[in-house]
């Protein structure tokens, strides 16, 4: 409730050691640890990357079953429902822990979200202009062609053909991304991440086009 260790001291402590002070028992806590090793009290989520939060090494390849297990295991201990009868401070901390965990899980479980996150995590200061520019003429052409084809498709079956193609492209793109990340080719991974974004949009447009045709048909 009342910390006698003032903020300046605390900041100096964090900076010097990479460890934090438990707000409750004032003992040391490794940064990123959700609980104090001394008094077991829940801590603030802190600024750690999504992979570390789930106990993973930053890598594109990921066993989704393993990700689920880690996520469920952590939520079991951090979710606000576990703190329903605890102090307001613990409840608030558990809420921010659970929210950070949800964000990490949602980002990593998605092939695109994970690629985007990893490119930025590894590419900060390495890639010249972030990873948001579209200067890939081939990608633009491809996208435009696909859009036209979608507009012209007059039957659900015709849309299905296009949407199958988009799905196939998405799968191939994810496989290639895995190889590029393994080879530490960040620029290539960045380009493909952009491509994956466009392919996802196309697949979504195909889905909507199909829904429209179903309604009107």
């Amino acid at each position: 409730m009342h910390s006698h260790v003032d903020n300046a001291q605390r900041t100096a402590f964090d900076a010097a050691t990479g460890i934090n002070l438990c707000w409750s028992c004032k003992g040391p806590v490794g940064s990123g640890s959700p609980f104090c090793p001394t008094c077991h009290m829940v801590q603030a989520p802190g600024q750690i990357d999504h992979f570390t939060r789930l106990g993973l090494e930053p890598a594109y390849d990921l066993d989704k079953g393993d990700l689920d297990r880690r996520y469920f295991d952590l939520q079991r201990r951090l979710h606000p429902d576990r703190f329903a009868t605890k102090t307001p401070r613990e409840r608030a901390l558990s809420q921010s822990q659970a929210a950070s965990l949800n964000q990490a899980y949602e980002t990593l479980k998605d092939d695109l979200g994970r690629a985007d996150y990893l490119v930025h995590l590894k590419g900060a200061g390495v890639l010249p202009e972030g990873c948001n520019l579209v200067n890939d003429t081939f990608l633009l052409m491809e996208t435009m062609e696909m859009r036209e084809a979608l507009e012209e498709a007059g039957t659900p079956e015709a849309v299905d053909v296009l949407s199958r193609r988009a799905r196939g492209d998405i799968e191939a793109c994810v496989e290639q991304l895995s190889k590029l990340f393994q080879a530490r080719d960040l620029e290539g991974a960045c380009r493909l991440t952009t491509r994956l974004k466009y392919l996802r949009k196309l697949a979504e447009e195909a889905r909507r086009a199909r829904a429209r045709l179903k309604v009107s048909g």
Partner: protein, 635 residues
């Protein structure tokens, strides 16, 4: 509450073990409400002396504002319709504008708009909000529980339709507060139903919960895995339910009657009689073969109306088909086909209607699960969750935001900040900047819904940010954080990034009750509101004291050797003082003793920090540092 003992080093302190409170599960329904309690994982519905579990969600008000809730109130619907309210859940969190479209459909008078805020009804000369009326229902349920259990009940898990928006959830929570109940958690009705079916135990795979109640329809897709309930997608219609079946049948009766009694104008009481008759017909036709003849008797004029099961099916089929088309949309949203679903749980009294079961079976291709009473299943699940929250459980409910949250941008467009079906709790930040030099304030309009334009969505709240440091246009970086908690409720915080100045956020809920109004209502409606508040604050102070004590116990176990015997005994004296204070009834004494304990351990904390720094600088990890003193690591 008994007290924490000071444990010898090595003994495990078990904080909060005596903190258990009686917590019930409440299904606050449109048509009926149910209260249940669970002990040792066995939930039980609390019944009246006649064995009835359902409390009709109907409230009758006397001129002195005293309320009668339940079956008796429902009987008064016929004699004193102007003093009785039903289906109030439909108005939870609704504004006057929302209700305009429903006028004529609703069986009560809506007060004309005063300030564009929350709807008020005029009943027996009292202007009442849906929150107050719902609070009266909750009070009746609380009383029923207290009579059964012979003890005070002060907390509950209350269920809401998954589709309820922020305003409706807030209204529900406010109603509980007004009834003297602390809401441990708002749980979505479908999730509660799945809990009651024990789908958390053993069941793996995807399940759908098809919930057709009196006033709302919800469909949820849940994934079960090792005791974790993950809500993948939800959808529904907050204004579709069995009441609409009644309306369809009543309309049919009334149009026949109008044909036979030309020139008679339709009166409000005639509508009420027709609705009651329609409900009886629906229930009877759903159970068995019925006489097929229904009589409307109003003002001494009787008309007789024939209705067979097929006739009823024709009247309600468009409504039933809407549920299927919503289900199909939700599945498609989640990227699933009906065949992916392993089982369908049926919830809500309206799933008793044979046509509903048939249509659901045809759509999902499997026989629905319906062996628990669909009217009781939600309350049973809520009771299980109440026990899980107060006593502990291995089951975990991971819910999603039912509707997207966004803010108004240029041209009345919505920019989504939290997408629908995002797991909650969630916190998302959005950066804004100023458009004028020296601008110190900013309006932010938050809406909830899936449409692209602001006016097609529900307005949740307007936030005014004040205290932005004056800068040139576009220089300020205001980070606004939107957090949705596990109950699905939104809070907003804002900070100016370049200066670190916190902008003040003023929330004006579009359809909610302000804190002032809430306080006034609490004051008006409960003479002992003050006592309740004092009791709650004392309980909170005690929990905080327990937390503080157990932190010091752990610290002593870990680093006690840093202390001289004299230092140790002064800390122990401070701990004893806290223990003594907690046994008393004075909150201020408890708080003061906790502060004194903080003060007494200050030097100790500094010593521990010094040691931590030295160890860290030597390269010893925190875990190694702690492993000698504490075997059981919370990690």
């Amino acid at each position: 509450m008994t007290l924490l003992q000071i444990h010898e080093p090595g003994a495990t302190p078990t904080p909060h073990e005596d903190d258990m409170r009686l917590a019930v599960g409440i299904d606050l329904g449109t048509t009926n409400s149910v209260v249940a309690i669970s002990t040792d994982n066995k939930p039980e519905v609390l019944r009246d002396e006649d064995g009835a579990a359902l409390v009709p969600s109907v409230v009758a008000y006397a001129p002195d504002r005293s309320a009668i809730v339940g079956g008796m109130a429902r009987q008064l619907l016929l004699d004193r319709p102007e003093s009785v309210v039903s289906s109030i859940k439909r108005l939870m969190g609704r504004g006057v504008e929302d209700v305009k479209g429903l006028r004529g459909v609703l069986p009560f008078e809506v007060e004309p708009a005063e300030d564009g805020g929350m709807v008020r009804l005029n009943i027996s000369g009292h202007k009442l909000t849906p929150v107050e009326i719902s609070a009266d229902i909750l009070k009746a349920l609380k009383e029923r529980a207290e009579e059964h259990l012979g003890a005070a009940v002060d907390s509950a898990v209350v269920t809401v339709p998954a589709y309820f928006d922020d305003a409706a959830r807030t209204a529900t929570k406010d109603a509980a507060r007004l009834a003297g109940l602390e809401v441990l958690r708002l749980v979505n009705e479908p999730t509660a139903a799945a809990l009651a079916y024990g789908l958390d135990k053993g069941a793996e795979g995807l399940y759908a919960v098809f919930d057709l109640g009196g006033g709302t329809f919800d469909i949820s897709i849940l994934r079960m895995e090792k005791g974790v309930f993950q809500v993948l997608a939800t959808g529904g219609d907050a204004a579709l339910g069995g009441d609409d079946f009644d309306h369809a049948i009543a309309d049919h009766f009334l149009s026949e009657r109008a044909g036979r009694l030309p020139g008679e104008t339709l009166t409000r009481s005639e509508v009420k009689v027709a609705l009651m008759t329609a409900r009886l017909a629906k229930e009877c036709l759903s159970r068995s073969e019925c006489p097929g003849e229904w009589v409307l008797d109003v003002d001494g004029k009787q008309t007789s109306h024939a209705l067979a099961p097929e006739g009823m099916n024709d009247l309600i089929r468009p409504l039933v088909e809407r549920t299927v088309s919503i289900s199909a949309d939700v599945l498609e949203d989640a990227g699933l086909a009906p065949g992916d679903v392993k089982g369908v749980v049926m919830v809500g009294g309206s799933t008793r209607v044979p046509l509903v079961r048939r249509v659901v079976k045809d759509f999902f291709g499997s026989d629905p699960l319906a062996n628990i009473d669909p009217d009781e299943v939600v309350a049973l699940g809520a009771a299980l969750q109440a026990e899980a929250l107060t006593v502990g459980s291995d089951t975990l409910l991971l819910d999603v935001a039912p509707l997207s949250l966004g803010i108004e941008t240029m041209g009345g467009l919505v920019e989504k900040i939290i997408e629908r079906n995002t797991p909650i709790p969630v916190a998302k930040a959005q950066e804004f900047t100023t458009y004028r030099d020296g601008q110190t304030g900013m309006d932010i309009h938050v809406v909830q819904g899936e449409r692209e334009m602001v006016d097609q969505n529900r307005s949740l709240a307007r936030f005014e940010l004040h205290g932005i440091p004056p800068m040139t246009a576009g220089a300020a970086r205001i980070r606004v954080t939107f957090s949705v908690d596990a109950d699905g409720l939104l809070t907003v915080g804002a900070v100016e990034d370049t200066t670190g100045v916190e902008a003040r956020v003023e929330v004006k809920p579009s359809y909610g009750i302000s804190e002032d109004e809430m306080a006034e209502m609490l004051y008006d409606s409960m003479k002992h509101a003050g006592e309740d508040m004092t009791r709650r604050l004392l309980a909170e102070a005690r929990v905080e004291a327990g937390r503080s004590l157990s932190a010091v116990v752990s610290a002593l176990e870990a680093d006690g050797e840093l202390l001289s015997p004299k230092e140790r005994s002064s800390i122990e004296a401070a701990m004893a003082a806290v223990e003594k204070a907690v046994r008393g009834e004075d909150r201020d004494v408890v708080n003061a003793s906790v502060e004194a304990l903080d003060e007494a351990t200050r030097a100790f904390a500094e010593k521990r920090m010094d040691r931590g720094i030295r160890a860290a600088l030597r390269g010893v990890s925190v875990d190694e540092l702690e492993s000698g003193s504490q075997d059981e690591d919370a990690m």
